[in-house]
């Protein structure tokens, strides 16, 4: 209790001290807002919704397509036959 009264007196003498905890809390809040790398973040001019967009359900695994392109720098020699991202070919 004595300590509390002493600190209150300290606040009375230096009212600006009251602002320090509040400023710290505000700084934490602003820092948290500024650092949130949300996956939904969009760049300038990013895509917007289209009312005709219709979500579809997850695809079920199905039988493999025939004649897969050989991997290991074979087939059509695409990057995707060497561990790179898959291109948009129809596998024919």
């Amino acid at each position: 209790m004595t300590i509390l009264v002493a600190r209150v007196k300290e606040f009375q003498r230096h009212p600006r001290l009251l602002a320090l905890p509040a400023a710290a809390g505000l700084a934490i809040a602003l820092a948290a807002c500024g650092s949130s790398g949300s996956p939904s973040a969009k760049p300038t001019g990013a895509a917007h919704s289209h009312p005709h967009s219709a979500p579809v359900h997850a695809a079920k695994p199905s039988a493999q397509t025939p004649n897969p392109i050989p991997q290991g720098n074979s087939g059509d020699h695409d990057a995707d036959n060497n561990g790179g991202p898959s291109d948009g070919d129809g596998n024919i």
């Binding site: 606040f11 809390g25 790398g37 895509a47 967009s53 695809a59 290991g72 991202p85």
Partner: protein
Amino acid sequence: MSARIWRRGRYALAVVAAAAAIAVTVVAFALPGPSPRGAFPVLHAAAAPAGWRHLGLPNGAAVLSYPPSLRPVAGDKDAVSAARLSRAGAFQLYLNATPRQGAERLRNWAAFRLRLLRSDDAVSAREVAAAQGLRFRGGTGSCVIDGYVTRIGAHHYDEIACLVQGRTSASVIVGAAPAAAWTRARPLLLRAVAAYLVG
């Protein structure tokens, strides 16, 4: 005097407690949580930003736009690709456009793409989100966002792949990035998809 000090002290403590409570609440809401799955991001067809470059499909069916940080890379002779590679040659960003070649159709695109990945390049593939009836510049498309692991090198990629039907022809646009970089890459890839022009 003592009572006044006590009242002011309580007031000061209340102010501090309120500030702390606000900070904790804001931090709790700002921290990234699990992202919702199954919701397809919004797309709005629009011309590419100034400074982007363009690659036309050899058959004239579509034009792929890509940011200047990417460079054209080799691929199928009837397709066009652009990528950003690391110094070690690893793909950091990848864009590709290819004329429709197989049995892919707008209504079965997501299933077709995942089936193709599993049968060709990938040991596993999972759908994240899909949508149909998306408007593109010059056409309509179906898109899927998925993640897969390559047979060669076990590389994890996330991608958005769209089959787009124009007035006279259909083609596929793919935007991909390593799964670890997907969150950062996705806005740029979506922008490239939104700028895809079909004829």
